[in-house]
């Protein structure tokens, strides 16, 4: 992976060889991307080793080799597992409520005009301010985290489903109707296939929201779960385990995001043949 220029300079092989390497990197941006990531990690390593007190910042080499120590900490694997479970449940609930709600709002002009402003208003409010209320009502267990995740995940799903239903070209509906399709047939053969790409786009945005909501609630509750451990590691200046925990959660988020993004790309394929790009 590391085709660094310094290593190349010490090598006695002819210049054409390095030109080929440079050319190869130029044609493949992902190699340069990996090099940038490697450089960033190297900077972090240098900063943590020589510039910052190790109490505050642990070098990546130590974080990477201390994962076993992190997972051996009593309660950490259980907390991570609980978070993953909360994410899954919150996402599922968001989709199960958001999809029919989006359809109900988007399929009729009247309900669209009546309820869409309310949805946008709720979506626009900073929900973080009501996090203490969620904890108060649902306790410090998984229920409050799931509820807060749903409150973040549901609106993007509703809004994208509504947009997907609304963006169907009127001519398609008119022609279906003129050929004598009934309401169900129009839904099944016109609305439904047009909805699939936006549904998956909504799922992706919903997943982003669910991740934010669940993690916010997890970090807020400092007496149990992830929040307990981040608080404890911070107070003990245990930056190695803190960074290990953050990295694990970030990796979890990346995997979940990537999964729904792949699903979106897969199920949105047929749309690409159309002229207009899906918003």
């Amino acid at each position: 992976m590391n085709v660094s220029v310094n290593a190349a300079a010490a090598d006695p092989r002819p210049a054409a060889f390095y030109l080929r390497i440079v050319h190869g990197i130029k044609r493949r941006p992902w190699i340069a991307r990996l090099l940038v990531i490697a450089a960033l990690i190297l900077m972090w390593e240098v900063a943590a080793r020589y510039l910052v007190d190790p109490m505050f910042l642990s070098p990546p080499s130590r974080v990477a080799t201390s994962f076993d120590m992190l997972f051996a900490t009593p309660g950490v694997p259980a907390a991570l597992q609980a978070t993953l479970w909360e994410l899954a449940v919150a996402f599922l609930i968001s989709v199960v409520i958001g999809l029919p709600l989006g359809l109900a709002i988007g399929l009729s002009r009247f309900s669209y005009r009546s309820f869409m402003p309310i949805v946008m208003l709720l979506y626009g409010t900073p929900q973080i301010t009501i996090l203490p209320i969620f904890i108060l009502y649902f306790g410090i267990g998984p229920a409050s985290k799931i509820a807060f995740g749903v409150s973040h995940g549901i609106f993007p799903i509703v809004i994208t489903v509504v947009a997907g239903v609304q963006n169907i070209k009127p001519i398609l509906l008119t022609s279906a109707r003129s050929m004598g399709a009934n309401r169900w047939q129009i839904f099944r053969w016109v609305v439904f296939p047009h909805m699939i790409p936006s549904f998956f786009a909504g799922m992706r945005l919903g997943m982003t929201g669910v991740l934010l909501g669940v993690l916010l609630a997890e970090l807020y509750v400092s007496t149990a779960g992830i929040g307990y451990f981040t608080t404890m590691f911070t107070q003990n200046f245990d930056s190695t385990r803190l960074l290990g925990l953050i990295t694990t959660l970030a990796a979890m988020a990346v995997i979940l995001n990537e999964a729904v993004r792949r699903a979106e790309l897969h199920f949105g394929r047929w749309r690409r043949f159309e002229a207009g790009r899906q918003a």
């Binding site: 910042l57 973080i128 209320i133 930056s239």
Partner: protein
Amino acid sequence: MNDRGSRRDRLLSRLVQAAFVIGLLALWYLATTRWGVSHLLLPNPLLVWREFVDVLSSGEFLPDLAVTLGELAIAFLISSFSGVTVGYLISRSQYLIRVFEPLLAGIYSIPIILFLPLYVLLLGLGPASKIALGGTISFFPIVLSTIAGFGYVERIYITAARSMGATYYQLFRYVLLPAALPVILSGLRMGFTVALLSILGSETLASLAGLGHRIVHLAESMDMARMFAYIVFAVAIAALLNTVVSALEARGKRR
């Protein structure tokens, strides 16, 4: 559909919205007065209103608001300056765009709030950690939209301006900037919203002062009516700021 019918429809929609809001308030009121929901869980709306008026008239909110807005201003200044600069530099080469754009978008898809404990460890519980988090989170929409704005200007315009002998300054001032500005302004608005959210969020999670801290403090002392009043206040401030920023964005785009 004829005109009268659509007007009646619109009126009916407004009516439904009003009924929704009034119904919610009525439910809230009835729940606290008739159905005996504990006032520790749900305070009486009239009491909340009285507290809200008290918060406003006593000026008690000022120090917390000043802290929150100060953090927001510094964080947004840092992220907009660095985001536009870095985005512009990256956008100057198609190759750099292809290297950095997916990288930045990938990092942006991680919930950056995760790094708050690290920032608190490095910078303490004071405003510095909030500014750092707000700046980090809002950097990404700004840099991504700047890349999108400057990087995808139609080549034909650039070629035309060059062939007519435009200097680099002229090219930037009359071709690149007008083409990129609407996209950048959208990014700046998004960055502002995200910065506000993350600063309120980090104040809620770990802080010593600010609106988010005040709400948590009141929740922990179970002063529910005042907490609800502060939530209303914070939501109103956020709505006001977002409206102002959206108006500025629209104005900047019209020019």
